[in-house]
């Protein structure tokens, strides 16, 4: 079994209330290294057979039409994870 990763992020010009809340909470934990946080989504799509070009194209299509809302989000990555047991480290 292989997996395809799709990463979706809020568009840069769009307000990201979640990221905002996190970055404002950091200092209370003594974390000051980060000037901004944005929170997006990561999808892992499981493929039973082989990841052909066609499957990848389908993943890209799904990413654009279903996994993201193009009005407020960008698909920033569609790629294959090879090892089936653990995600990239």
């Amino acid at each position: 079994m292989a997996r395809i990763v799709v990463d979706v992020m809020p568009k840069p010009e769009i307000l990201d209330p979640q990221g905002k809340a996190i970055v404002r909470a950091f200092p209370h934990q003594g974390i000051t290294a980060f000037s901004g946080v944005r929170q997006g989504k990561r999808f892992e799509l499981e493929v039973d057979g082989e990841v052909t070009e066609e499957v990848l194209a389908t993943a890209r299509h799904a990413a654009e039409t279903m996994l993201s809302n193009p009005v407020i989000e960008d698909v920033v990555n569609v790629s294959v994870i090879d090892n089936s047991d653990s995600a990239e480290a």
């Binding site: 568009k11 307000l15 209330p17 407020i72």
Partner: protein, 790 residues
């Protein structure tokens, strides 16, 4: 748009700007200062792209005595837009202020024109409520559009000095089976809930209607209601020379200025992002904090004047605050906290970033003010002060970029007398009655009435709205005495006395399509009836007028007629309009939506524990069921006609004197304990009313309509499905029947005993015709929305 503009206008300020920019080194933008504008009178500005008409632009030039700067142009263009200036509707809306009696003004503390009207409800308490549309944004991005719609109306309520206590959401969608309806319904309902639930405001009612005329034009109207002590009333004005002006809440980003990105021509920096988000994303958490923070500020008496930031952002807030106060304000726009540092001054002035407020604070209270904001971790920046110059002056990095009389921006916008005329087809529409039409071929009778009632109660517009309303928190704050699915939402205002308010929003767009004048009155009548059935004394109206394009004379006629009807109606029934909102251009191509003048009505209850539920429960077993009012053949525009695909003829007759009489009866009977349940008759007729009353607590009734049908001279089908006005069904305890009948007789209101509550048989038994088992009725009523939306 930007490229186009730049290539077209080689002679534009950019040219001279480039030179200046080089000279200024660090300066990122070419600054179109007031001084520069005076020196370069011939510079062409993109007024058309910003939505101004040529004569409007000329008027700006005339007012200023020179060409506007880019920033001034930004302000005038947004403030003179239809949305902000009401330029097409103003001449008609005046009637709401003119057609009022002294009696109607008695309890009015703040009338139309402020952020929201304020009504005195006694004991030192006041209530403010308002309804507003967010239709277009909700079609583009349903979740965020609906969410920010709720956010915006709630800020209007805060800006009056009130604590928001509830929201409502009248919604209109396209055909239930249209593929796009899924997206729109899921997004909008989740958005209304997502924002309202997170703010901790109970949702206490609204509407859901499906009709193809709203395809690509869903209506999202949002209502918020707030309460305040009389002394806490705040108004949007900036008075007291030397007082400080503060902007607080969320940072300013490029939200809501997508269409106006033409202003990027102020800039020469190519690396500047050309894209401004067309969609605003709401942050309900930020707004919740803002509410609590503002209430703490009010309580400590730390603000003199306050204004929410909605449409037209800082342009609107500064010009309105200034023109409502001593008339002058000096603002340094460079101190505005930005989310996107690449914004130009014009864009900052136009930005519609959510969750922001502007306040005026006396210098000695600045420190205390800051302490409250710090406590709530709300960001703020002091952006200027009140002056006595009569001018609104805005600086940007040390240069004056705006110097205007704020009144000319906020109040002296253009006023149009748009041409209108009655559509030619209106006569034909009104002549096409349902009764006797092809659609009226098979009237059910006898046992077939059962299937007819089941079909009606399962139809998209009469089915249970639980799928929607179960996504809304109606409990939060602990003061909800009644909510969905009852006729009105009821909120307790004073925990000691039980004093409270009831609200209902209503409109039947089909009636308004057939006859906009009476359609508006019918909307008022239904809202009035709903509030009165709950046992509350009607006190104030707010409206949200949703129409097509005002540039279409036939739509404009619908609008003019509806406003005239609502204003006349309010005068007749004696309840003032305290504010509202107009949403135009709701159309796709040349097809306008049905005229949809949504009426929100607020009533007062001395003790909310006495509110009347819209159905009977098992303890009412044996109580008498009475119908108040009479029934005529009025099936035009009805839900039954809709089921048969017919829309024509004339809507039901509306007699507001009768409605008022009915209202008084219902209120007095509720107060004196003569009725245990009351439900008005509206869409779907008596059939729907009886079905809903049985379903409310799952308790049946035995009903016989023969006698009353004979009295009214109609057949049983008409009795069940006609939508005649001025009717309500009540259940009366046996011990109260004599008093009940006496009161109806004394007031000369028609009444008829039509049956009894029956807790044993678990059915709505239309005796001699059909018996409908409640489980079957419930199943039909509750399955429709889940079936479509999951």
């Amino acid at each position: 748009m930007i490229e186009q503009h730049e290539s077209q206008q080689t002679d534009s300020p950019q040219q001279s700007g480039s030179a200046t920019q080089e000279a200024q080194g660090e300066q990122q933008f070419h600054l179109d200062t007031v001084e520069h504008a005076a020196q370069t009178p011939d510079t062409e500005l993109p007024w058309a792209e910003l939505g101004l008409k040529e004569d409007e632009y000329q008027k700006v030039v005339e007012i200023l005595g020179r060409r506007p700067t880019a920033a001034e142009l930004a302000m005038y263009s947004v403030m003179w837009s239809e949305h902000c200036s009401y330029k097409s509707s103003k001449v008609h809306l005046r009637q709401f202020g003119e057609k009022v009696s002294d009696e109607m003004k008695k309890d009015l503390m703040v009338g139309m024109g402020e952020n929201a009207g304020v009504t005195d409800i006694g004991d030192g308490w006041a209530v403010t409520f308002k309804i507003e549309s967010h239709n277009h944004p909700s079609y583009v991005e349903p979740y965020q559009g609906a969410a920010t719609g709720v956010g915006g109306i709630v800020r209007d309520i805060i800006s009056m000095g009130a604590r928001p206590v509830a929201v409502m959401d009248p919604l209109r969608f396209g055909a239930i089976d249209h593929p796009d309806t899924q997206r729109v319904v899921h997004g909008i309902v989740a958005g209304v809930g997502g924002y309202g639930n997170c703010l901790g405001l109970p949702n206490i009612g609204g509407e859901v209607e499906f009709d193809p005329c709203y395809q690509a034009n869903p209506l999202v109207n949002a209502l918020a209601v707030g309460v305040l002590r009389h002394e806490d009333l705040r108004l949007a004005n900036a008075s007291g020379t030397g007082n400080k002006v503060v902007l607080f809440g969320a940072r300013t980003g490029g939200d809501g200025i997508g269409g106006a990105s033409v202003l990027a021509s102020e800039s020469f920096d190519d690396s500047k992002p050309s894209k401004r988000p067309a969609v605003q994303v709401g942050d309900p958490f930020a707004e919740k904090v803002l509410i609590e923070c503002c209430l703490e500020l009010f309580q400590a008496g730390l603000v003199e004047g306050i204004q929410d930031l909605g449409a037209a952002g800082i342009s609107c807030a500064t010009s309105e605050l200034a023109s409502n106060g001593d008339g002058g304000m000096h603002v340094d726009l460079s101190s505005v906290l930005l989310r996107d540092p690449s914004l130009t001054p014009g864009e900052i002035l136009m930005s519609e970033s959510q969750e922001r407020m502007m306040a005026v604070v006396t210098p000695e209270k600045v420190q205390d003010f800051e302490a409250v904001l710090d406590k709530w971790e709300v960001e703020y920046s002091w952006i200027g002060e009140v002056t006595d110059t009569g001018r609104l002056i805005i600086d940007w990095q040390g240069e004056v970029i705006v110097d205007v009389d704020p009144r000319t921006v906020a109040h002296d916008g253009p006023v149009y007398e748009r041409p209108y005329h009655r559509p030619e087809r209106q006569d034909a529409i009104q002549a096409d009655h349902f009764t006797g039409s092809a659609a009226d071929a098979d009237r059910p009778s006898g046992a077939a009435v059962k299937d007819a009632v089941l079909e009606l109660m399962a139809s998209p517009n009469l089915c249970s709205k639980d799928w929607v309303t179960n996504q809304y928190d109606c409990y939060v704050q602990g003061n909800t005495a009644m909510a969905m699915p009852d006729d009105a939402g009821v909120i307790r205002v004073d925990e000691r006395t039980g004093l409270g308010v009831a609200l209902s929003t209503d409109c039947n767009g089909r009636y308004a399509y057939l006859d906009p004048y009476n359609g508006a009155k019918l909307a008022l009548a239904e809202a009035y009836r709903n509030v009165a059935t709950a046992g509350a004394r009607p006190a104030a109206v707010s409206d949200c007028l949703n129409f097509g394009s005002p540039e279409d004379p036939e739509v404009m006629w619908q609008f003019a007629e509806a406003v005239r009807g609502l204003a006349d109606g309010c005068l007749e029934i004696g309840v003032p309009v305290t504010g509202g909102n107009v949403s135009l251009y709701n159309q796709t191509g040349t097809e306008a939506i049905h005229p949809t003048p949504v009426v929100a009505l607020m009533g007062v209850l001395d003790d909310v524990r006495r509110r009347t539920p819209s159905g009977w429960d098992a303890t009412a077993d044996g109580q008498a069921v009475y119908l108040l009012g009479t029934t005529a053949d009025e099936l035009d525009g009805s839900e039954w006609a809709r089921l048969r695909g017919h829309l024509g003829g004339l809507p039901p007759q509306v007699d507001l004197t009768q409605e008022k009489l009915l209202g008084e009866l219902l209120i007095n009977m509720s107060r004196d304990g003569m009725i245990d349940a009351a439900h008005d008759v509206s869409e779907g007729g008596l059939a729907a009313t009886l079905a809903e009353m049985c379903l409310r607590f799952g308790t049946g009734a035995r009903i016989g309509l023969g006698e009353v049908a004979e009295r009214d001279g109609v057949d049983e089908f008409t009795m069940l499905f006609s939508e005649s006005q001025g009717r309500a069904v009540v259940s009366v305890p046996r011990s109260e029947e004599v008093r009940f009948k006496d009161m109806c007789t004394m007031r000369n209101y028609p009444f008829a005993r039509i049956g009894v509550v029956d807790a044993v048989n678990d059915a709505l038994d239309l005796m001699g015709t059909a018996s409908i088992p409640l489980p079957e009725l419930k199943q039909a009523h509750e399955s429709t929305l889940p079936q479509y939306f999951g």
